[in-house]
Symmetry: C2
DNA sequence: CTGAAAGCGCTTACAG
DNA sequence: CTGAAAGCGCTTACAG
């Protein structure tokens, strides 16, 4: 069994036998205990290398009743926003010695239940969840019990869990104020569904900025649509059903904004030149679209690192009350909002 | 201990005690054995639910000497190409009942060693590795031993491991032929480093297509640069140092192509109108850039699913010889290559 | 159909 | 400084 190319796994017992020591002593060497005699240690380490020993963290964790993994459940990795987020999470978890268990839900709350069930069986120390649309806290609670702490990201999900939120209201407010500063008054809120908490909050920010500027939004300034490029392009016409129509739109997110830009082009209008558009998220496409998109940057990678820090902190102190953290956002002005209304400009 | 909100974990023993059965019987219920009396089963299942029992797959796997995880090691999740790939991998692994252990290397072969070491300690059944640049098979081999099968993606990495390759040569050939068909003869190969296997293969395909058309490439038609937008923009001038200059360029990848488009614009040239550009990858930006980018689509999500299938197959048959699979690619023509040379057109 | 016993690979008091 | 024994949560022959 001392042949490194042998079939089976090399275990602590193999090393102990080869060194004529007990497993306990080898275990101490493995975890760098100062108790072990230097010569003994050297002998063991040579043997570990010689046999190609691989530590079985699962067995150790079982015995020690600890876990060295954190589960990350994401709607959809092909969304660059979540991919960046995941990259940030993994980076920070790895730095802290944890391994990321990945799960994705495809925005289905059914799959979310299944994915969480499966991941929980792998005994994660904690969970970072970016909830699928229509997630139900009541169905999640019995699944999670009280043993496994969870950090919810991006979408509110009821009490009892830590929550990392984007400052949606503030972001939409920044975008709206930016457009107001360029002389716009009739500013639409375009895209998204009112039921989603992020859409709701962004509308609130838009509304607040308008109110602050003495503008009362008309009902037809709010256009709902699924947050995809295609749907947004299709709904573009809804902005122009009544006269006078909006001259600018704060979009629910970048996908919607890009769709709107395309929809405008179809109607012979050019974003940035005769209509002003802002997005939300600052996805990579935003910088290369035609025109480049003014948007609200949320730095998803930094959010990922932040989420990881929050859950690690929670692992250290399970008893502290659940906390809500609001992550900053900032305006990234580009050409799509360049169109100003000279008449009204300050 | 029958209180579901109790501190500790609910174990098989808790359930067995509550039902006045042995752990063996409860274990059989858990895994759906037909041996168990229907009433007994019902009783146990009620108790499992009542106590909020969560299966500890790690303990079961330890005893059964199996693993239900696969490690996925990716250069960089913020690259949408790899994010899509990861999404495909996770989708297929989850469907097969495996959980994905995530690791990322940031294109550092040092980190890659560390990440693999850490992941191996979690006893994955197999590994899917998209190697960091400059990966060294000789350093990887002792790490992996012969116990853990690995599937290498995208970059060749020596023998003994399964390999899923993109058909780089064919893709570059398609792009080149596309440009030839539009009348171009002086077609550059722009970007990338010759040492990287993917760049080398793509150049080969470009060369073959040119040779096939009776065109002998001149040395200055090959411009090297780091595969980033910025570097490509900086190197644009190198295409035009000698007269007659190329009228079209096959780019190493989309990032480079987008950089070239920007670099051209700086010099007053417009891709698609007075110069033809093709990319490689079909990243999301390709469809919204100005102009939209003609590129080679590799469907990274499908590649991810394929990679997962390949490693799962390997888990079923460890003894079969290592295999190389070449994934198809296809041309996605858009506006950036629209520029044709009327004089030479067929 | 159910139970007693051993064991997966590791760690942790406790002795000495 | 090292070892013997028990145990983490589960499964697997083997009895009965």
């Amino acid at each position: 069994m001392s042949d490194p190319t042998a079939r089976g796994r090399v275990t602590l017992t193999d090393i102990a036998d080869a060194c004529e020591l007990s497993r306990a002593t080898v275990s101490l060497v493995l975890r760098g205990s100062p108790l072990v005699n230097a010569q003994t240690r050297a002998r063991v380490e040579a043997e570990l290398k010689r046999q190609g020993y691989v530590y079985h963290r699962g067995a150790a964790n079982l015995r020690r009743k600890v876990s060295s993994t954190v589960a990350l459940v994401i709607n959809d990795l092909s969304n660059p926003f979540f991919a960046e987020f995941a990259a940030g999470v993994d980076e920070a978890l790895a730095a802290a010695g944890y391994v990321t268990l990945l799960g994705s839900t495809g925005e289905s709350s059914e799959r979310q239940q299944a994915v969480l069930t499966s991941l929980l069986e792998h005994d994660p120390a904690g969970i970072i969840l970016s909830p699928a649309e229509g997630s139900d806290a009541a169905r999640l609670r019995p699944l999670l019990g009280s043993r496994t702490p969870m950090l919810v990201f991006n979408r509110a999900l009821g009490d009892g869990w830590d929550y990392l939120a984007l400052d949606n209201a503030h972001g939409a407010r920044l975008a709206t104020e930016h457009l107001l500063a360029q002389g716009h008054r009739r500013i639409a809120f375009f895209g998204g569904h009112g039921e989603s908490s992020s859409c709701f909050e962004r509308r609130k920010g838009w509304q607040a900025a308008l109110a602050n500027a003495g503008v009362t939004p008309e009902p037809q300034w709010i256009v709902e649509c699924a947050p995809t490029r295609l749907e947004a392009a299709r709904q573009t016409g809804a902005l122009f059903v009544r006269d006078p129509a909006p001259t600018a739109a704060v979009c629910y997110n970048d996908a919607v904004a890009l769709g709107l830009i395309a929809g405008l082009a179809t109607r012979g209008r050019r974003a940035g030149l005769d209509f002003a558009v802002t997005g939300f998220d600052d996805i990579p496409e935003a910088s290369v679209s035609a025109p480049p998109l003014t948007t609200i940057a949320v730095d998803p990678r930094a959010r990922g690192r932040q989420a990881a820090e929050l859950i690690l902190q929670r692992l250290r102190d399970t008893s502290a009350p659940a906390t809500t953290t609001i992550a900053p956002v900032r305006l990234h002005a580009r050409a799509s909002s360049q169109f100003t209304l000279p008449g009204d400009a300050a």
